[in-house]
Amino acid sequence: MILLVEQLLNGLQLGITLFLMSAGLTLVFGIMQVINLAHGSFYMIGAYVGATVAAATGSFILALAGALGAAGVAGMAVEILVLRQLYKRDHLDQVLATFGLIFFFNEMTRIIWGKQPLFMDIPTWLKGNIELLPGLIYPVYRLAVIVVGAVVALLLWYLFSRTRLGMQIRAGASNRDMVSALGVNIKLLYTLVFGLGTLLAGLAGVMAGPIFAVESGMGESILILTFVVIVIGGIGSVRGAVVGALLVGLVDTLGRAFLPTLFRTFLSSSYADSVGASLASMSIYIVMAAVLIWKPRGLFPSHH
C-alpha cells in the first residue's frame, strides 16, 4: 500500500515534468501551427545554464533565473532567425529545419561545456527526505517539483483565460489575418508565445538538472515522451497537455513498478522479469494507440 502511494507520487512527479515540456510544445503547435522538434534543446539549455550558474554562484534561485532567461532568449532568437522564414512553408520543411537545430544545439553544448556530463546538486534547503505517511519516505526535492508544476499550470490557465494577452493569443490562433487587421502586432505575439514555450522547457530542464544526467542530447529522450503526451492530450490544447502528461507519467511509472511483479504471479521469475520490462516500456505507446482509436484527435482536441 505504502509502495503504491510512493509510486503514484513518482508518477505524478514525472507527469509534472512532462507537462512543463508539453505545454510549450502544444502551445506553439496549436497557436502557430509549427512543429518544433528542437523543443528538447531548450530543455537541455535550461539544464546546462542552470548547472553552470549553480556551480559558479552556489545559488539555486540564480540558477533558475539564469536557466529561464537563457531558454526564453534562445527560443525567441530561434523564432526570429529561423521559424519566421518557415510559417508559410509546409510542415516537412519545419520538421527538417528544427531537426537540424537539434544537431546544432547538441554540438554547441559539446563545444562550450565539453564532452562529459555536468554535475548539478540539489539546493541544501530542498535536500533530504520527509516522512509523508508512516513508512512513506519521499525526497523533498521531488515534492517541490510537483508543487512548482501545479503552480505553473494554474498560472497558464490564468494567463489564457483571464488576461488580455491570453485573449489575443487565442484570437491569433483562430484567425491570424483578422487579428493582424485589428491592429495587434501578431509577429511580436508569436515571438512571445514561442519564448514562453521554450521558457517552460528551460524550467523543466533546470528542475531536472539535479535528478537527471545533464548531458548533450538529454532533450531527445524526453522529447519522445512529450510528443506522446500531446498526441494523447490533443494537439494544441493546454488542458490536454495536463491530462496527457499525468496519464503518461502514471502509466509509465506504475507499469515499470508493478508489471514485472504482476507477471511473476503466474510466470517463472526470469521470464516474468523480461516480459514485464518489455511490456512496461511499451505501455505508454499502447495507451496512446488506445486513445487514438477511441478519440482520433486526442482527448481534448483544440477547435480548428
Binding site: Q7, L14, Q116, Y141, I211, E215, R256
Partner: protein
C-alpha cells in the same frame, strides 16, 4: 660538373622523399567522438596519441601515422570507415572501437580481410569464445571481467542478498551474467529497465521495499549518472551499499556525480594509483599534456599503442609480414600501465582485477582509490571455447 651535381641532388631529394613517404606505418582508429559517449573515444585517442608523441611520432622506433575517424556510435558508419581504411589507405592495423555492438559489426569482417585488430575497449563475449580469431586481440578486457570481479568481492563480503539492475538489451544481460558467475548467494531481484531511461524513481522505490543487502547496477553513461544521483537523493546510499563496474565511475563521469558517488565500490583492471613505474610515468605525462586525470579508457588506448610499438620494433616496421607482427603482439613485451600483462589462448588479457572506491582528493576532485586485488591472473570465461 655543376649539372651532374644538380641531377644527383635532385635524385637524392626524390629518393629521400619517396622513402620518407613510404615509411610511416598507418594505424586506423575507428572510435566514438560524437554523441553522448564522445568522451570515451576522446580518451582512447588521447591515450594512444600520448604514446606516439612521447616517441616523437614513432612507436617502437618506427614512424607511424594515426588516422582517426568518428563512428558516431553507429555500426554501419564504422563499417564504412573500416572499408575506406583498407581500400584507400591500405591500413593493416586497426583499433579504437568503443562499443561492443559496433565491434561485433566490424571486427569479424576486417580480421577476415587480413587486418590485425586490437581492441582498446569493447570485449564482447562473441569475439572471445567461438568467434575468436588469430587477427583479433583484446588489449582491454573481456566485458564480463569487470563484473566478475565485483561478483567475487560481494560474494566474499558480509552481504547475503543483492538486487541487480541493468538496461534491457544484450549487453545489460551479459554484464549481470558476469556478476552472477561469481556471486553465489541470494539474488533479491533482477530488474531490466528501458535503454536510455532517465527517471529511476519507480525502481528505487522497489529497491527500498525489497530491502536487499546490496545493489549491483550496470547502467552505462547518462543512465548511471541519473541512477546514482536519484539513489543518493532517496537516502538509500547509507542503508544499502551500491556496487558497479568501473564504467560509471571514470574520472570524467565523476565530475557529474562525484559528491553522490562518494564511497561507492567498483571493479576495474586499472586505476591511476597502481604502483608501477610505467603507470606513474603515464599518469604524470597524461595530466601534463591534457590537464585531466586519465580514465581507464585512456590507459587502454595508451597500452594498445605501446603494445603495437613493441611489435613494430620486433618486425622493424615491416607490417607486410603479418604473421611476424601477430607473433610479436602475442608476446606482449611492453611495460603495461597495469603492471604485468599477458595474453591468454584466445588473445584476451590474463590480468589482475581490482576493487576500488570513489574518494575525494584534497583539492576537491573526485577519483578512485584501489582498495583490494580480488583476482590474480584472471582468465575470462570464454577462453576454453576458442579454438585457435
Amino acid at each position: 660538373m655543376k649539372r651532374l651535381l644538380m641531377l644527383l641532388t635532385a635524385a637524392a631529394f626524390v629518393f629521400s622523399l619517396q622513402s620518407a613517404a613510404a615509411e610511416p606505418v598507418k594505424i586506423g582508429m575507428i572510435t566514438t567522438l560524437s554523441t553522448k559517449a564522445a568522451y570515451l573515444g576522446e580518451d582512447i585517442r588521447d591515450g594512444f596519441q600520448l604514446a606516439i608523441d612521447q616517441e616523437g611520432g614513432k612507436l617502437g622506433g618506427i614512424d607511424v601515422e594515426l588516422l582517426v575517424e568518428d563512428d558516431g556510435r553507429k555500426p554501419e558508419k564504422a563499417k564504412q570507415i573500416a572499408e575506406r581504411y583498407m581500400k584507400k589507405d591500405g591500413v593493416k592495423i586497426m583499433t579504437g572501437i568503443v562499443f561492443s555492438n559496433v565491434a561485433i559489426a566490424v571486427v569479424p569482417k576486417v580480421v577476415r580481410d587480413g587486418v590485425v585488430y586490437l581492441s582498446a575497449n569493447a570485449g564482447p563475449s562473441k569475439l572471445a569464445g567461438k568467434g575468436c580469431n588469430e587477427n583479433y586481440f583484446s588489449v582491454s578486457y573481456q566485458n564480463d571481467n569487470i563484473d566478475e570481479v565485483v561478483g567475487q568481492f560481494v560474494n566474499d563480503s558480509e552481504h547475503q542478498s543483492v538486487y541487480l539492475i541493468a538496461p534491457n538489451y544484450p549487453a545489460g544481460k551479459d554484464h549481470l551474467a558476469g556478476f552472477k558467475r561469481y556471486f553465489k548467494k541470494d539474488i533479491s531481484a533482477e530488474v531490466y529497465t528501458q535503454l536510455g531511461q532517465s527517471d529511476y524513481a519507480a525502481e528505487i522505490a522497489a529497491i527500498r521495499a525489497a530491502k536487499p543487502d546490496a545493489v549491483f547496477f550496470f547502467l552505462p553513461g547518462g543512465m548511471g549518472v541519473s541512477f546514482i544521483k536519484q539513489y543518493a537523493q532517496a537516502g538509500l546510499s547509507e542503508e544499502i551499499p551500491l556496487y558497479g563496474p568501473a564504467f560509471s565511475f571514470d574520472e570524467r563521469l565523476l565530475k557529474a556525480v562525484g559528491p553522490v558517488a562518494l564511497g561507492v565500490k567498483n571493479g576495474s583492471q586499472w586505476t591511476h594509483d597502481l604502483d608501477n613505474p610505467a603507470n606513474k610515468q603515464f599518469v604524470a605525462a597524461y595530466i601534463e599534456k591534457y590537464g585531466r586525470t586519465p580514465t581507464l579508457y585512456a590507459s587502454q588506448g595508451y597500452d594498445t599503442a605501446r603494445l603495437i610499438g613493441s611489435a613494430l620494433k620486433a618486425v622493424q616496421g615491416n607490417v607486410d609480414d603479418l604473421g611476424a607482427v601477430k607473433q610479436a603482439l602475442k608476446k606482449a613485451e611492453f611495460d603495461s600501465v597495469r603492471g604485468k600483462f599477458s595474453f591468454g589462448t584466445n588473445q584476451h588479457p590474463v590480468q589482475d582485477l581490482y576493487i576500488r572506491e570513489v574518494i575525494k582528493t584534497d583539492d576537491g576532485q573526485y577519483t578512485n582509490r584501489t582498495i583490494q586485488k580480488v583476482f590474480e591472473n584472471h582468465v575470462d570465461a570464454y577462453a576454453a571455447e576458442c579454438e585457435m
